[in-house]
Amino acid sequence: MSAGGGGNDVQWCFSQVKGAIDDDVAEADIISTVEFNHSGELLATGDKGGRVVIFQQETENKSQPQCRSEYNVYSTFQSHEPEFDYLKSLEIEEKINKIRWLPQKNAAQFLLSTNDKTIKLWKISERDKRPEGYNLKEEDGRYRDAATITTLRVPVFRPMDLMVEASPRRVFVNGHTYHINSISVNSDNETYLSADDLRINLWHLEITDRSFNVVDIKPANMEELTEVITAAEFHPHQCNTFVYSSSKGTIRLCDMRASALCDKHSKLFEEPEDPSNRSFFSEIISSISDVKFSHNGRYMMTRDYLSVKIWDLNMENRPVETYQVHEYLRSKLCSLYENDCIFDKFECCWNGNDSVVMTGSYNNFFRMLDRSQRRDVTLEASRESCKARQVLKPRRVCAGGKRKKDEISVDSLDFNKKILHTAWHPQENIIAVATTNNLYIFQEKVN
């Protein structure tokens, strides 16, 4: 297997499903973010209940090669609690908006998690020893008679069952007036950015009481507000470069070397609108819901409501590739507007060697778009295909005209089942796909 490569000749098969298998979905269990760490050994999910669950990949077992991608629960903790802002009379949801792993710095693992307002740095560490031996009491807590103490005892560490602890190390508060939509760790390993609807702040990972505002698009008069920031990300290698996308479908690239305030962008990526496609919904569907740099740093991918675009950082006037995710919905925009689905924020991700991208759709479908062969496939995360190592069958949606065999009619798509969050293992062909409250893990079929 080529590391993380493979186009659509990869056969995806079911590996695991996490979460309750019943139709009654508790609001708190809805998965709100999925993220692999840099080695792919750990997979974190955040949910609307403010919890973070971390899965660990089982160490390779030679006798059962098919089990190599089994992810099991490693640690679960409550990252955020619901709060109330008394000054503004606002409830602050505990929902985890984003999780970002830090590059590993020592034996422990670190991640940033954020809800609408507060970013937290968590340490996940293992402990396999504990101290034993007291002077004044027995190990079970009974006190000894102080008069019988004739010598001093120093406690000793003894091995114990492995314990995984998650502890909050830093809490970054009061940096945002609006809702945080993105966090991104800089390649310098000491700073990260956080973006809300109108501002982007730069933080030092060790300093919690102040951050630098690098972008502020808030107009003096809020009535003049025409666009908001929807996502932001640092370049994977160039510590001075970051991009942010807007609700108007533009992406701005900023160079922090040029000045301390990045109100003036260095590059503006924007595709001229096709006048023939113009409609009432044009502006809404051109809003970018996610932006991701490729691993090599040459490209970036943006997701809007109907398409995925890939931009070369050296070409600002149009994307180098455009993929339709579910073009058949163009005729349905009116009803999607009525049921608010048109505002869904789909995310997207690259595979390990940037040759394939993945993004979600409705009806628990997700799309694999192969860049080199210009081929795409629609797969489904469903309980019907929950048999171990069962190969996923491509799905087709009838785009009008006569419905062929195996095709699904647009009208029978379930818009309540949507895949917003997906993640691709950084090296291998293992993907994590979040349906409402289930996390599906698929992997390349090994023969």
């Binding site: 002077n135 120093v154 406690p155 390993n189 060790e206 040029a258």
Partner: protein, 615 residues
């Protein structure tokens, strides 16, 4: 040691301390760690080495504050493990502390390691310490490699030449580490490491590393290299600077990233010192001009702070500033950024001493005047706060016509913090402008502040009066300010009446006994019948305060009856402060009474009791 003696009571406190090393309460663990030396002393050197230290080595799971305290303690633990002979026993716990993720803990562990490295014999250093440094330097995690960077410098001078070569090799490797964290650590320790290296190796080893780090892809690494460049330049002979260091420094001053240029501007004085006057004149001055004109305000701010050019060669300093720096300064005066202007305002006055009287009048004075009219109060304040520099050169009179409107405007600024700031410069201004000018122009301002609606301003104004009297003397006080202060005692606003009392508190001592007794005391006493309780109890406090200035007859005849009356006031607070004043004052004056014939000690006591017993 107490270990052998059975059923020893003295063991109990130690036993508690040891048990609390693993208490669930962080505060208790912290307390125990801070008394680690007591525990070690009780255990004795042998058990400290064999039991306590292994336990501590494994405690790295603890909270940061506990680990920080532990790292610090271990730095002075040598005696407790048996002296320099056994100092290497401290290495394992410090090694594990040097790999934790918290920077403060790691830094403290490195600091302690550096400290105890000096207590190693040369042999132990090579047998125990250097291997530890190498282990850290080749550790899997970057936390350990960053810690290693700080340790090379302390062992290098004391090891054999083979080991020296190894150390240099390790340092080289870390300078090109994959992670920016390690390169930053290496970059920040490069200067320090260069200092302990032989000059030949500085040229052959350090210079290439410096050049590489200064062109690192990460801004954060490059900017640290600037500081290293300063240290390295100081080590090299003058003739090598041009070839080895200057190209890199020149490049840094023109770096694409403003943060790097900022660093150059910020370290400019040190840089000048390190490269000497010749290079400064030919090379750094043009670079500095560019920094003053930089497109990023942060850089201009840092550069503006350095316009005085302290290290320029004595003979050409004036010319250089006149021809090269001053034109840039003239532009900065009308910069768009307030921080740039305010940085400039805080140093621009210093130029006058360098440029002399004529140049100051011709070139600088117009700039001062522009800055005195700046829209940002901070800029104006910075000019005013540095007036003394100009006063020495041209005398302040030249400025006074423009100064006055600026002061008046600041004095009436809508922001009380601005008003507060200008009040603090009043004594300085008064001293330089002279009493005449002050009386004429500024006195009314000082009085107006006394009735400001912000308490902090009234308080500062009171304190200001005291300082003015210290400058101008009691007679001046009596003629100009005392009448006005006392006049406020009849004000209809009780806050203003209280201000009178606060002023008297501040002024009585500097004004002396005569003025206090003759003029102030009657007013205070009269106010004891004020209808507002706050005023009355402040009368009590005021009397206590001015008591020491008054003579004893006034105290007896006038103050005592009033205090006695206040002590029976209906208001609880008035009563409290009156009693407090009575006890405070008589205790204060106790020695005088004891030795005077009219009073005996017992009568004072009686006097005392009669008050405290009265209902």
């Amino acid at each position: 040691m107490g270990t052998g003696t059975g059923g020893d009571d003295s063991l109990y406190p130690i036993a508690v301390l040891i048990d609390e090393l693993r208490n669930e309460d962080v505060q208790l663990r912290l307390n125990s760690i801070k008394k680690l030396s007591t525990i070690a002393l009780a255990l004795g050197v042998e058990r400290t080495r064999t039991e306590l230290l292994p336990f501590l080595t494994d405690t790295i799971y603890d909270e940061d504050e506990v680990l920080l305290a532990l790292a610090e303690q271990l730095g002075s633990f040598t005696v407790l493990v048996g002296g320099p002979e056994f100092v290497h026993c401290l290495l394992p716990p410090l090694e594990s502390l040097a790999t934790v993720e918290e920077t403060v803990v790691r830094d403290k562990a490195v600091e302690s390691l550096r400290k105890i490295s000096q207590e190693h014999s040369p042999v132990d250093l090579e047998v125990h310490f250097v291997p530890l440094v190498k282990r850290l330097a080749s550790g899997d995690w970057f936390t350990s490699r960053t810690s290693a960077c700080g340790l090379f410098g302390v062992c290098y001078p004391r090891v054999s030449s083979t080991v020296k070569a190894e150390i240099r090799q390790h340092f080289r490797t870390l300078c090109s580490d994959d992670t920016p964290m390690v390169r930053r650590a290496a970059s920040s320790k490069l200067g320090e490491f260069a200092k302990v290296l032989e000059l030949d190796y500085v040229k052959s080893d350090i210079i290439p590393l410096f050049t590489a780090l200064a062109s690192d892809e990460q801004d954060s690494v490059r900017l640290l290299a600037v500081e290293a460049g300063v240290s390295i330049a100081a080590l090299l002979p003058q003739e090598d600077l041009e070839d080895l260091v200057m190209p890199t420094l020149r490049q840094a001053a023109e770096d694409k990233s403003w943060r790097v240029r900022y660093m150059v501007a910020d370290k400019f004085s040190e840089l000048q010192k390190a490269v000497g006057p010749e290079i400064t004149k030919n090379d750094l001055v043009p670079a500095f001009q560019n920094l003053l004109k930089d497109c990023e305000a942060e850089v201009r701010t840092a550069a503006a702070n350095k316009v005085k050019g302290e290290v320029l060669p004595e003979d050409s300093r004036e010319t250089i500033i006149m021809t090269h720096i001053l034109p840039c300064v003239k532009e900065l005066v009308s910069d768009t950024n307030q921080h740039v202007k305010s940085a400039l305002a805080s140093v621009i006055m210093g130029l006058s001493t360098i440029l002399g009287k004529d140049n100051t009048v011709e070139h600088l004075l117009p700039l001062f005047l522009v800055q005195l009219k700046d829209e940002y109060p901070e800029v104006r304040l910075n000019i005013i706060s540095n007036l003394d520099c100009v006063n020495e050169v041209i005398g302040i009179r030249q400025l006074s016509q423009s100064l006055l409107p600026a002061i008046v405007e600041l004095a009436e600024d809508a922001k009380w913090r601005v008003r507060l700031a200008i009040i603090e410069y009043m004594p300085l201004l008064a001293g330089q402008l002279g009493v005449e000018f002050f009386d004429e122009k500024l006195n009314s301002l000082c009085m107006a502040w006394l009735i400001d609606h912000v308490y902090a301003i009234r308080e500062a104004a009171t304190c200001n009066l005291m300082k003015l009297v210290e400058k101008f003397g009691a007679e001046w006080a009596q003629n100009t300010i005392v009448p006005k202060v006392l006049g406020m005692a009849n004000d209809s606003n009780y806050l203003h009446r209280m201000t009178t009392l606060f002023c008297i508190n501040a002024l009585s001592e500097v004004c002396g006994q005569e003025i206090t007794t003759k003029h102030m005391l009657p007013v205070v006493l009269k106010m004891s019948t004020d209808q507002v309780a706050n005023v009355r109890f402040n009368v009590a406090r005021c009397l206590q305060k001015i008591g020491p200035v008054l003579d004893s007859s006034a105290l007896q005849a006038e103050v005592k009856p009033v205090l006695e009356k206040l002590a029976t006031d209906q208001d609880m607070d008035v009563k409290y402060f009156a009693l407090e004043a009575i006890s405070g004052m008589y205790l204060f004056n106790l020695p005088t009474y004891i030795f005077s014939e009219t009073f005996s000690f017992s009568s004072i006591l009686f006097f005392f009791f009669s008050f405290s017993l009265s209902p």
